[in-house]
Every structure is written in structure tokens, then in C-alpha cells.
Symmetry: C2
Subunit: 194 residues, 2 copies
DNA sequence: GGCAACATACCGACTGGTTGGTATGTTGCG
DNA sequence: CGCAACATACCAACCAGTCGGTATGTTGCC
């Protein structure tokens, strides 16, 4: 049921996804739906949490965490995000960003749960940014938290561009800009220099 | 009528804005509405175009164009964007991005008009980026077009973050990152050096 | 074991209100 | 007059949510 919700909401948005439609897609009756969820808003919150779980385990179990260099872990994360941005637009865009846009004012609980999903994911990047700052120093003075959030800002914006263009290319381009920015921020010692 | 549409859609989204609600807000009857617009989808397209016009004249008549240095014009643009990001969230966020997110799949004409608004605005920045590249050179090799689009990507992402946080702070932070990125990209000669 | 009392999971017809959209006036101006 | 700009009344489809009912456990007491 939640799986069907993720798919439908990512495609049509929260408001445009009806309970009937969702039930049909999930192969359950309306009675079953309202047995498990108090309201449609309740489903939205549950969907955001489910999204957090799915993406949480996906990124938590990713290989890039094993890299010894924190900066390499950050680049590994960007590579992973790029490798995920393939196929149809509704298949790689972010449920949380989509729902947040249209529920922040009308359905605050859904918006809050969606925002928590984004900030929660950003928080998992913060230690690597902090370690990179500690190890390499940083030009300018953005904090690890700010950099982690900015990464998500760029990705969310890239998803909007992808929805307009109809393919994943804007995501890859945005990730390149992000990589270049980080490259400027963290001045790595040249290989083989003293 | 279009003015009311902009306000309502930015607040509630396209799907959650009903024709009745819109008519009430605009102080017209439903008959008048369907006299001017063939359908709700038609209104969406018109709203996107109206948005393009409003923002188009706003930025076209801005002072930063008068600066002699193209890079200063870019920074002037960023300053202007920052100065616009004040007050309530629905008052400074982007209609085009909001509509694009929820109509790209269900109402392609609305999505396309919204995307055209974003890319059209980005195109107005391109000459300044190109002039900056020509004047200062550039580190890495992003094109003027790519930089102009990236600026919008970051802003769109920042608007999503602002909707989550409930205020404009994420927009200002994102613009700072953008400014820092451009600062790295365009190596300006130090004041007073040969 | 047997059986009553209760709990959970689910069904699907139904409701009151809302939706986008239409069909048929009415008004006012050139 | 004629025609554009509206207003009014209305419609079928759809919406989220309800409700009486059923099937299947689960518990606890004798």
C-alpha cells in the first residue's frame, strides 16, 4: 500500500492522488485503507516516513562509506546520486521534495514529515563534511551542516529541472557543479608534493 | 483573475486550487472564468505565462544591468534575488517551480509553460555569464548556459528548503554558496596588481 | 478441551459535499 | 441590432470519509 503510494505520489503529486486510485493500484479496498490510515493526510505522513526508511537504508548500506578519505566519501556520495539518476523521471525524483512543495501550507504534518526526511538525510552527510574540513581546511567559511543542506538544495532543484526537461541530464549537470564547488572549497595537497 | 491565481497556486499548489476558490478570490463568477479560459489546464498555462511576464519585467528593469563589469552584474543579480527573498514563504517562492513539480506528468502543457518560464529567465543571465567567461576566463569548463541554469537549479532547491523551514533563510544561505562558487570559478585579478 | 468475550483485519455500499465543466440567460456598449 | 462580457443554474463524476457487517484470530475462565 505504501509502495503504491510512493509511486503514485511521485508521479501525480499528493493532492492529485485520490484514495480510490491508490486503493486500486495497491489492490486493496477503501475499507482496508481507512482501517490502516485515519485520513489521507495520515497516509502522506506515513509515506514520508516510509520514504525516509527506504532511502535511509539505501544510503546507509552504500559502499562509499568504506573509503578512508572523508572527501572521497563525499565524492562517492555524489557518484552514487548520479548513478541513481537514470530511467524515467518519476523513478529517480524525490518524494519528500515533491510532497513538501504542495503540502507545506495545506497539510503541515505532511510537509513537516517530508522536510524531516530531507534534513534527516542531510544530517547523515554532515560528519563526512566535518571530517573533510578538519582534514583539509576549507576556503570561505561554510559549516559542515550548511554544506550538507546545500547538497540537498542542489539535488532538489535539479529534480525540478529534470521534470521540466523530461530526463535526468540536469541532475548530472548539477552534480558536476557541486563536485566542482567542493573541489574549490577543499584544497587537496598535490600528489607527491612534500 | 490571473493575479489571484498566482497567489492561490503559490500557496496551495495547482491541483489543490479549485476553480470555485479562484473565482471567489478574484471576485468573479464561474461563467466569467470559463469565458476567458477553456479549462483549468488553460488557466495553468496562462498563469505560467503571466508569471513570465511579471518576473521578466521585474528583472529586465533592475539596476544591476547598468554595472559595467559582467561579473558584478551576476553578483548584482544574486543580491537582487536575496533582497526579494523576504516575508512569507508563499510571497517569494517561484510559481513556475511549484507548478512544474506537480503538472509535469498530469498536465504537460502547464508543465511545459512553467519550464519555459524557468529556462527563459535563465536565458537572460546567459550573456552576462558569457561576458564574464570572456573577460576573466573560467576554472573548470562549465558553459554560460550551464551556469545560468545552475543558478536557477539552486534557487528552486532553496525554495523547497524554505517551504520546509518556514522562512527565507535557506534561500540566503544557498545564494551565499552560489556566490562563493562563482568567486572560485572566475579568478579576478587582485586590485592594484599589474 | 470448550466456549464466551473480545480484538483485529477487512469489505463495499453509501453519503454529503466538491469538482471541472456546460447550457442558458442577461446586460451593456458600439 | 449584434456581439462580447458576463451571470445563474445546473450537471455528472468524483472526492474523502463513514458505517454496518463479516471472517478470523486471541485470550481467559471453567
Amino acid at each position: 500500500m505504501l509502495t503504491a503510494a510512493l509511486s503514485l505520489i511521485r508521479r501525480h503529486g499528493f493532492a492529485a492522488t485520490s484514495v480510490d486510485e491508490l486503493c486500486a493500484a495497491a489492490g486493496v479496498t477503501k475499507g482496508a485503507f481507512f482501517h490502516h490510515f485515519r485520513s489521507k493526510e495520515d497516509l502522506g505522513v506515513a509515506a514520508a516516513r516510509h520514504w525516509s526508511e527506504i532511502t535511509g537504508t539505501l544510503f546507509a548500506t552504500a559502499d562509499y562509506h568504506d573509503l578512508p578519505d572523508p572527501l572521497e566519501r563525499i565524492y562517492g556520495y555524489l557518484d552514487l546520486r548520479a548513478s541513481l539518476a537514470v530511467g524515467g523521471v518519476p523513478d529517480f525524483t524525490c518524494l519528500a521534495g515533491t510532497m513538501l512543495q504542495e503540502t507545506y501550507d495545506c497539510h503541515p504534518p505532511v510537509g513537516e514529515a517530508s522536510y524531516a526526511s530531507i534534513t534527516g538525510h542531510a544530517a547523515t552527510l554532515e560528519p563526512d563534511f566535518q571530517a573533510a574540513i578538519d582534514l583539509y581546511g576549507i576556503k570561505g567559511c561554510p559549516s559542515a551542516r550548511s554544506l550538507a543542506l546545500h547538497t540537498q538544495t542542489v539535488l532538489q532543484g535539479a529534480f525540478i529541472q529534470a521534470k521540466g526537461k523530461g530526463d535526468a541530464e540536469p541532475v548530472h549537470e548539477a552534480l558536476e557543479h557541486l563536485r566542482r564547488y567542493f573541489n574549490f572549497l577543499f584544497p587537496r595537497p598535490v600528489e607527491g608534493s612534500p
